[in-house]
Symmetry: C2
Subunit: 162 residues, 2 copies
DNA sequence: TCAACTTATGTAGTTAGCTACACAAATATA
DNA sequence: TATATTTGTGTAGCTAACTACATAAGTTGA
């Protein structure tokens, strides 16, 4: 018997435990950048890595690639622009679009960032060990895409009620 | 090659993926309560279940059991009190303490809530299948408690730099 | 017994997601 | 070609966690 009530709840508390772990890691990531004297936030690596690969993307394209809502992306990129890490220019062909790319400032610090991300990847790999956690997450996300947690639960309520 | 950039990032994006899954499930849980006509929020089940078991607890005790900060607990219980699901009384022995317990309203709807949570537990169990996901989470949380993600990463930066 | 410390609660302000709505630009269609 | 629809971006307002600070009540020890 542990004093961690979430563990006791078993499957019911899955979402809460996933949230607890991710919150803790994200918070620790924020501390790490601060410790290293960088004005970078934990979720920016997604945009950095994506734009390193794709060179120039619109808000909607970033939103689709990261599977996050476009208001979330706007909030992230506005901070990154303000801090000088992204360039933004209006698209010539389509006046609605804003095209984002990495700034020179970013290109200068990129080697340092890569070292941090490499070390972070190693840290997660050490934590996860030889387990197949990432494959499990693939499976869970695939199942959640097929049928939402609400749908699954409502179906179970239905069939339990028979 | 998938169009989900987070998957491509492998271990590096673990925290982001855990967040994405938990956010999705929590959001779906909110919709479910709404669909069922209940004015209950997704994270309240933790307090309901805990107080069902322990009868009467203070803010700090709830905070410890759920491993959440006390301001988070205050925010949750204030809403639950406002909605009539919790009773609060001042502790006689210790005037600083607020003692929380389940209200009659809660006791009346509890059977219905149990059905929902049972169905939700089944839903998660179906999603997780025969895997050992919960044990993996136990392991990861234990390792994170020993050494934070920041510490792990900084150590790796150090040793990579040699 | 009273000052210093500790503990329990509460408040303020931050970050990170989200949906719903607004609006402008592009495209499609009658 | 003019109107209607779609698409891309942006804003407002929501939830949920956190830390840091404030305050009040208990406890301890000189």
């Amino acid at each position: 018997m542990t004093d961690d009530f979430l563990k006791q709840l078993g499957h019911l508390a899955l979402a809460s435990r996933l949230k607890r772990i991710s919150d803790k890691m994200i918070h620790s990531g924020r501390e790490m950048y601060k410790h290293l004297g960088l004005d970078i936030e934990p979720n920016w690596y997604l945009v950095f890595k994506l734009l390193k690969e794709e060179k120039e993307l619109s808000v909607t394209e970033i939103s689709a690639a990261l599977q996050m809502s476009h208001p979330s992306i706007i909030s992230i990129i506005n901070k990154m622009i303000k801090s000088g890490y992204l360039n933004s220019r209006k698209c010539q062909d389509d006046g609605r679009k804003q095209l984002l790319s990495l700034s020179d400032k970013t290109k200068n610090v990129y080697p340092q960032l890569e070292k941090i991300w490499t070390a972070g990847t190693q840290g997660v790999a050490q934590m996860v060990g030889e387990t197949d956690l990432l494959e499990l997450l693939d499976m869970i996300e695939a199942r959640l895409d097929q049928k939402s947690f609400m749908e699954m639960t409502l179906e179970n309520i239905e069939s339990n009620g028979q």
